[in-house]
Every structure is written in structure tokens, then in C-alpha cells.
């Protein structure tokens, strides 16, 4: 089971990628799955078990995401 974070801008996705990688989380940038957004762009995928920690790391620097989705 994986979690997918969406972002308002690709810059925010890259910032989140760096932040979470630096914290030791295994994250991967993926093309945003169409079912989640009509937008073009990229999303951040990681193991579902790590999403809670990821959310708190993003909140620590007030980095806004545009939704977290679970894919089984």
C-alpha cells in the first residue's frame, strides 16, 4: 500500500522530495495519477506506513500539499 501526495506546484513537490529524502524517507516522484487531479504535474509516492511522519515533516516547514491519497 502506498501513499501519494499531490502538490499545488511542481516546485513544492521538489521541495517535499528533498525534505523527505533528507529525513531518510524513501520517496519517489511520479506523474500525477489522472484520477486524483485534472492537473498536469508530478506527485510524491511513498510507503503508506511513512505518510504520517511525512505529513508532520511537511507541516514543520509549513509546506502545503494538495491532498494525500492511499493506493492499494
Amino acid at each position: 500500500m502506498v501513499g501519494v501526495f499531490l502538490f499545488h506546484t511542481t516546485s513544492a513537490a521538489f521541495r517535499a522530495e528533498k525534505l523527505l529524502k533528507d529525513a531518510g524517507l524513501a520517496v519517489k516522484l511520479i506523474p500525477t495519477p489522472r484520477q486524483f487531479s485534472s492537473d498536469c504535474g508530478i506527485a510524491l509516492q511513498l510507503d503508506w506506513s511513512e505518510t504520517e511522519r511525512a505529513q508532520s515533516l511537511l507541516a514543520d516547514v509549513a509546506l502545503e500539499h494538495a491532498g494525500l491519497h492511499r493506493i492499494s
Binding site: 499545488h8 506546484t9 516546485s11 521538489f14 516522484l29 506523474p31 508530478i42 506527485a43 509549513a62
Partner: protein, 362 residues
């Protein structure tokens, strides 16, 4: 830059394919490098623009509305003065605070001009003509006590002087990539401090951002609100390389090297009787940009002889800064400007002084 062209080359943010992501990551790394250089916590508050002029236009035209009051110094570059004069015709009230003949600005005079209701103080961090450093830290305190913002034109100082935006209290910082940051031309940016509410900063250009494509209105998110259209990825990759090079060496070390060159140049030129050197005598108050004239010589003739006969390249005339030249009484003839950088050698400076002496004493 070649890495961007050979290995990335996609359009950042427009797609999720690997080349687009590679391009986006290179640009993000550059954003982070700029944020680190100016000690800004959030790299998304770094807006890339084609040059400092564009960044200054974004800040001035994005912030100021008819009826607003703006204050600037008497030595600003035309990249600041021309947008400000145009805004003045649209109803912005502008106060220009005069500088001393050596370019220095008295913070007390600035404070007197910043009356309640002032929206913005705009200051060159250093004069592009005589190198004079303006008191941006004092200006920030003056701005904030009046409820105004401080915009700093760092075209002359990014990579040349250490700039800690939060410590100095700078709200908006415009920079160019092709000078002290050792990047290619066609790069620059505007850095927004935490105190800038982006709801009050209108974009200069609107268009495609690769985000929120379902909407026909400009997104409100940083940095996309201010970065429409395909960015100069190749140039931005080069800018990041320049900043990384600079960071390895340290801005303080570059500053020390440049001051040693400036000291030799100023002392050498000042010793020639018919030469006048402009700007502050105190090296702590200036950058390495040195303007001079030779009595009895047109600056264009000096410039041409330096180039043709001695392979010394300089810029003569008004340097896009008529206000600075009026301040130092060199308008409209202008000056000869020499700008040693970190790749200039002391030997080259000594030779330059000898050559100027040769021209002056014939």
C-alpha cells in the same frame, strides 16, 4: 548547463516524464542554492526572472498602486528609476532622497522622507557607478517602523557582499545571475522575505505554469504565480553552478580578494595628479567598482585607448545611472568604470594603473 541540455532538456513542470522531472529538479536545486545564499528558509520564495531589471519591475509594478508612496535614493540605476517614473505618472508619489557626492546616504535623511503611509523603500545595495554601499539594514528598520517594505536592488552585491536577508531585514531582493553570482546572462530573480504578503504583489506576466491547468486564472501559489512560460532552464542550471562555486570559496573570501584589488587600483589611480577617483575613500563603504576621469580627456577616448592599445576593457559614460552621475557631478560626460572581479590579478591592476598614468601624462 550542458548537463541540462544533454541529460534533462525537458520542460520543467509541464509533464511527469523523466526529462521534465530532471529539468525541474535542476531548477529546484538552483532555487535552493539561491535561498541558502541569502539565508531564506523557504526556497519557493525565490522567483526566477530573466534579469534583475525584470525582477525590479515585478516588485515595483506588482506592489505600488496609484496613491501609494515610494522612497528611493539619489543614486538608483535606471532599472529602478524608469519603472518608478512611469508609476509616478500613474499616481504613485515618489520621493528621491539625495546622496552625498561620494554616493553615501544618510539614514537620518532617509528616515525624514519615510512619512507614515509610505508603502515601499527602494535602495540599490551598492552603486553601479562608484561602488558606494547603501545602509540597507538601517533602511529596513526605518521601513518597518513606518509599516513599509524594503526592496533592495542587489545587482551589484549578490555574490560580492554577504547578504543575510532576515538579519538585514530585507523584504524583497532583486538579483542578477551574470555578475557576482558567476552565472550566465539572462538569469536573475526576486527573493521574497517572509514579511511579504503575496496577495498584495501582482504578477507582471501571466500564463501557463504547468500547475492548476484547469483554471483560466493565474494560480496564487509560489513560485508559479510569478513564473509563467518556459523558464531559462539552461541559464538557471549555469546560475546554480556559479553559486555552488561561490559557496565553496565563500562570499567573505571573494569580498576580501576584491577589496585588495580595489585598494591597489584606487591608491594607484589617486596618485596620478590629473586623475579623479569617485566614491568613498573608506573601502568598507564600497565594492570594487571604481569610477574615474582624467582631466582634459573625454571618457570615450580613454575607453577606446584602453581597449585598442592595452586590451583593458571598461565601460564609459553614464552606466544607465544618470542620477548617480548628477550626484557626483559627472553628468552628462560620465566616467570610466573599472570593475575588478575575483579572477582579476594584482599584476593586471598594477599594469592598468601604469597604462592610465601613461595616458594621463602624455
Amino acid at each position: 548547463m550542458s548537463e541540462f541540455l544533454e541529460l534533462a532538456g525537458g520542460n520543467p513542470g509541464r509533464s511527469g516524464h523523466r526529462l521534465s522531472v530532471a529539468a525541474g529538479r535542476i531548477i529546484f536545486d538552483a532555487r535552493q542554492a539561491v535561498a541558502d545564499l541569502f539565508n531564506v528558509a523557504d526556497p519557493l520564495r525565490v522567483i526566477f526572472t530573466p534579469n534583475a531589471t525584470h525582477a525590479l519591475n515585478l516588485a515595483l509594478r506588482g506592489l505600488l498602486r496609484p496613491g501609494d508612496r515610494a522612497v528611493c535614493s539619489g543614486i538608483e540605476h535606471n532599472a529602478v528609476m524608469r519603472p518608478l517614473r512611469a508609476l509616478e505618472r500613474q499616481g504613485v508619489q515618489l520621493t528621491v532622497v539625495p546622496c552625498a557626492p561620494n554616493g553615501s546616504l544618510d539614514p537620518a535623511e532617509l528616515a525624514r522622507a519615510v512619512i507614515p503611509g509610505t508603502r515601499l523603500i527602494v535602495l540599490a545595495h551598492a552603486s553601479n557607478v562608484m561602488g558606494t554601499i547603501l545602509p540597507v539594514g538601517a533602511a529596513a528598520a526605518i521601513a518597518h517602523s513606518a509599516g513599509a517594505l524594503l526592496l533592495v536592488d542587489a545587482a551589484q552585491t549578490a555574490g560580492v557582499l554577504p547578504i543575510d536577508m532576515p538579519a538585514l531585514g530585507i523584504d524583497l531582493l532583486a538579483f542578477t545571475g551574470h555578475k557576482g553570482l558567476l552565472g550566465p546572462p539572462g538569469t536573475g530573480g526576486l527573493v521574497l522575505g517572509q514579511g511579504v504578503d503575496i496577495a498584495g504583489l501582482e504578477p507582471l506576466v501571466r500564463g501557463g505554469t504547468g500547475s492548476q491547468s484547469q483554471r483560466q486564472e493565474q494560480p496564487d501559489d509560489l513560485p508559479d504565480k510569478y513564473e509563467s512560460g518556459t523558464p531559462n532552464g539552461v541559464g538557471i542550471a549555469g546560475l546554480a553552478a556559479g553559486i555552488r562555486f561561490l559557496a565553496q570559496r565563500g562570499v567573505e573570501s571573494v569580498r576580501a580578494d576584491e577589496l585588495a584589488l580595489a585598494r591597489a587600483l584606487i591608491e594607484g589611480l589617486t596618485a596620478i595628479p590629473s586623475v579623479t577617483v569617485y566614491g568613498p575613500a573608506d573601502l568598507d563603504q564600497r565594492t570594487a567598482v571604481v569610477s574615474f576621469t582624467i582631466a582634459g580627456w573625454r571618457v570615450s577616448e580613454i575607453g577606446q585607448r584602453l581597449d585598442d592599445e592595452f586590451d583593458i576593457l571598461c565601460r564609459v559614460g553614464l552606466h544607465c545611472a544618470p542620477a548617480a552621475h548628477r550626484t557626483m557631478s559627472t553628468f552628462p560626460e560620465g566616467t570610466v568604470r573599472l570593475a575588478p572581479g575575483r579572477f582579476t590579478t594584482l599584476e593586471e591592476i598594477r599594469r592598468t594603473v601604469e597604462v592610465v598614468r601613461e595616458i594621463a601624462e602624455v
